[in-house]
């Protein structure tokens, strides 16, 4: 069950999206996120959703696989939606005891839900189509200018790629430890929230110890393979922008413009109206 999480997992097929330069995909994801936060209407969300579906289509990754990966955020999603539904003040639609569902609340909840789902799918599209190493290479190159102000860009990139490599391993390990503890009578499912949180301690302690041991061994192994930071280091796969990347950039720009337009559409209309009336008056 823990291995179903698709964030940070690469889906190995060939597609135009897979072939894009990681830098394009990182920038694309940022643009997509900005776009999602700009959107304020259902029409905008629909447009973003269609773009996302088209992207999935192009990436040759089965939709089912992506949907299954979203299970892990279901709780978070539910929490956000419910919280928004009840907490936002406004015109009351339904009243259950002291809880009120307002029109505005429902509206915000729906927006938040959609935004969250698309956010997660958008980000996992990046990791599904890019190998972690490519991704960190891309980030490293994108952030290279920061090196001038002494930001350890290479180190950060290396840490990220190692973290991504070890996520599935640590997941599996958590699974194993939990089973081992259950076999000895540990109970993770019943009791109050506090009790359940407490029962996780015997899982977390061995997990941390093991993670530290792994880190130590990995560091030794890296040293044995002549790792010494980024000085004098080359890359087997050098990053290069290709035609596809330029096409993608143009599409992304269009997407961003569309999102901006959808947000300020009423404003634009108003502006146009004022201009027209002004012109009419003249």
């Amino acid at each position: 069950m823990l291995r179903d999480i698709t964030i940070g997992q690469y889906y190995d097929v060939d597609s135009p999206v897979h072939r894009l330069d990681p830098r394009t995909k990182v920038l694309g994801t940022v643009i997509f996120i900005v776009g999602l936060f700009l959107v304020k209407s259902f029409l905008g969300f629909a447009a973003a959703g269609i773009c996302l579906l088209l992207l999935i289509r192009c990436s040759n990754i089965p939709l089912k696989f992506i949907v299954r990966g979203q299970k892990s955020i279901a709780m978070l999603l539910l929490f956000t939606v419910v919280l928004n539904m009840f907490m936002v003040k406004g015109d009351v639609l339904v009243r259950i005891w002291f809880l009120k569902i307002t029109y505005q609340g429902l509206y915000t909840a729906l927006f938040m839900g959609m935004r969250l789902i698309m956010l997660v799918i958008g980000c996992s599209m990046m990791t599904l189509t890019t190998t972690p190493l490519q991704l960190t290479d891309g980030l490293e190159k994108l952030l290279r200018p920061l090196k001038k102000i002494k930001v350890p860009v290479h180190d950060i990139a290396m840490m990220m790629s190692i973290a991504l490599r070890f996520i599935p391993i640590l997941m599996e390990e958590t699974d194993k430890i939990m089973k081992a503890q259950s076999a000895r009578g540990a109970d993770f499912e019943s009791g109050s929230l506090l009790r359940r949180a407490k029962s996780l301690i015997p899982v977390l302690v061995p997990l941390f110890i093991s993670a530290f041991r792994r880190a130590d061994e990995l560091a030794t192994a890296m040293e044995a393979r002549c790792y010494r930071g980024d000085e004098g280091r080359t890359k087997m796969k050098e990053l290069k922008y290709r035609t596809g990347d330029y096409v993608a950039m143009v599409l992304l720009l269009l997407f961003l413009l569309a999102m901006i337009f959808s947000r300020y559409l009423p404003g634009v209309r108003e502006l146009a109206g004022t201009v027209l009336t002004l012109l009419g008056v003249r």
């Binding site: 061994e217 890296m222 393979r225 004098g232 087997m236």
Partner: protein
């Protein structure tokens, strides 16, 4: 033959605490010290002199804490000797300028296959070493391809190591070292966490590299069947070399090995027991085939 690795009176003492180390150093210099102190700070290596020739397949045996892993780490300059010296192709590990050259010449494989892989794609992991050496991208590609072919894992070049078996992961780790074009591979119990099939995969790969590519192999293991296939076996105990010779020579000392807490290959054990019962099987037996031959000769 040229020598690949040469250690001279190698001594290594763990120092968790600097003050205590200085006491220990004087102790090893001849000043008598209390028993308890000696026990607290044992010499992980105590005057180890080993020579490994180029193209040799050497197995180092020893139970836990015998100093065999510590020795392996000295070859790679991951640990530096407290006393004595170790040379890899004539380069002293104590000199900083040599470290990277030594690590490229004598690649190292560790026990846990998961904890020595950096990348989530096989090919990119194999490329990690040569990338660190600053080799040109095109050459790296060639090296990686050859290395994966040498360990028979070319089909898996785009796979995620998480989904591979232990034996396969260990072969990828070996490829990662091969891509750096080393002269020698040092393996620190690479088969300890593997199932029998994974063990034989790794062993076959190592033997092939040794026979076909003339790779020097220093293999540390618990498994006597693996030791039986080596050119030379070195047995360590309490930081000292206690036995050395061809597998046949070493395994003929069944009782001494048992006293050291080690086993002998199953067939050697059987021959030993048969002899004890008065059945005179001839020769130093290591494999089932040899056993069959010896038993047939009895009648």
């Amino acid at each position: 033959m040229e020598e690949m690795i040469k250690s001279q009176d190698l001594v290594y003492i763990y120092d968790d605490d600097d003050d205590q180390t200085s006491i220990e150093v004087t102790a090893s210099g001849g000043t008598p010290s209390s028993e308890s102190n000696q026990e607290e700070k044992p010499h992980a290596l105590d005057g180890v002199s080993i020579q490994v020739e180029k193209g040799e397949f050497v197995v180092i045996l020893g139970h836990n804490g015998s100093g065999k892993s510590t020795f392996a780490r000295h070859i790679n300059a991951l640990m530096l000797p407290t006393e004595g010296a170790i040379y890899v192709e004539g380069m002293d590990t104590r000199e900083d300028v040599n470290i990277w050259k030594i690590r490229q010449k004598a690649g190292m494989i560790f026990q846990n296959p998961d904890n020595q892989m950096i990348a989530s794609i096989v090919e990119e992991d194999v490329a990690f070493g040569p990338e660190n050496l600053g080799i040109a991208p095109d050459t790296i590609r060639v090296n990686v391809k050859e290395a994966l072919e040498a360990v028979g894992m070319s089909h898996y070049k785009n796979a995620n190591p998480t989904h591979l078996s232990g034996g396969q992961k260990q072969r990828i780790a070996i490829a990662g070292i091969l891509a750096m074009k080393p002269e020698c591979i040092v393996l620190d119990e690479p088969t300890a966490m593997l199932d029998p099939r994974g063990r034989s995969e790794v062993m076959r790969t190592l033997l092939k590299l040794n026979r076909e590519e003339k790779m020097t192999v220093v293999h540390i293991t618990h498994y006597m069947e693996e030791a039986a296939q080596a050119d030379r076996v070195i047995v360590m105990d309490h930081g000292k070399v206690v036995m050395e010779g061809t597998p046949r020579e070493v395994f003929s000392h069944v009782e001494e090995l048992k006293a050291l807490g080690l086993d002998v290959p199953p067939m050697t054990e059987l021959a030993f027991r048969l002899r004890k019962k008065g059945i005179d099987v001839q020769g130093d037996i290591l494999t089932v085939e040899e056993m069959v031959g010896a038993l047939c000769r009895l009648n």
